[in-house]
Assembly symmetry: C2
Homo-oligomer: 193 residues x 2
């Protein structure tokens, strides 16, 4: 297939560079000129693939969600060999995430804060992503607890979100242990009843 369009190497280079810079320094702090310089492409190439910066932002968020899903599914499989409990494996991957170089929290959360506009497509996407992520997490909890999982999944989600923002602010991944222990305890008690 000569779908050069969809898999254009230039387009991919722009996406990778923008993703890295947006996450590292913030969406508003990174200009188009810097992206094209570091991606080593012409300005018109960028604007051909992404008609505006807002379009690029949205494309980057979609791209990042793909990579994040991959990171978690791969990671859980890796950790799943040692840990039977899916929830425990999830928190192990979350810890990997916190410890990954350049970790600066949840890109979707950050985007929503930076955009500061509920009508922006990026904000909408961030909201949708959080719903999908919560569904994913609720699925894991239910695999561990059965139907009773639906009762504790929302609270586990809050522990995870809280751990993310706290890890960024504190500049330390240690808080993930607090979240994991609390989540496992909640799960154990829900199972006990």
């Amino acid at each position: 297939m000569e779908r050069t369009k969809a898999t254009s190497e230039v387009r991919q280079r722009i996406l990778d560079t923008a993703d890295r810079l947006f996450y590292q320094d913030g969406i508003r702090a990174v200009g188009i000129d810097r992206i094209i310089a570091e991606a080593d492409v012409a300005k018109m190439s960028l604007y051909k693939h992404f008609p505006s910066k807002d379009d690029l932002i949205l494309a980057v968020l979609k791209y990042r969600e793909e990579k994040l899903l991959e990171f978690f599914t791969d990671g859980m499989e890796r950790h799943g060999k040692r840990t039977k409990d899916k929830l425990r494996a999830f928190f192990a991957v979350l810890k990997d995430f916190f410890e990954s170089p350049g970790f600066r929290g949840c890109a979707f959360q950050n985007a929503a804060v930076e955009l500061a506009d509920p009508a922006h497509a990026g904000t909408q996407f961030a909201k949708d992503h959080k719903r999908r992520f919560q569904d994913f997490l609720a699925g894991l909890v239910e695999e561990s607890l059965g139907k009773g999982g639906a009762k504790v999944a929302p609270a586990v989600g809050l522990l995870v979100e809280g751990a993310i923002v706290t890890a960024v602010i504190q500049g330390s991944p240690d808080v993930v242990d607090v979240a994991r222990d609390a989540a496992l305890k909640m799960a154990a008690e829900a199972k006990g009843l």
Copy 2:
């Protein structure tokens, strides 16, 4: 007295306006020109009170922490008349916060995300604020549970942080109920043991 200096009316107007605009639209999205226009002051007046925008940002964060402390202490006293439990009163005030007009999450969290620079004085202050806030919360938990509170306070903190970011993303304050119920349950179980 030279009270004109410390409580200068112009200075206060700048602080109030900048606080409102920074919280509403974001620190980077709000320029000096807009602040002086809405505060109805001259540009040189602003730069006399705050030598740079970074100085203004820091001053606004300090100012906001004062107001936040006031909001919570006042609110807890108000709710405390109906609720004996301090932790329960805290979550009632948190709900008030989520429902306040123009709610857009935690200003310190937002500042840390927007500044995207661990060395920035604003980022440092945000980190310090979170520690103080967590200490405040831990104090409440211990008042409810005695020494056992130290065990659950960190997890309660994560529930609160998670609730804040989730309320913003979802655009709904309802999630505070999830956090409250989970926190009270954790507290009750810690007391039972």
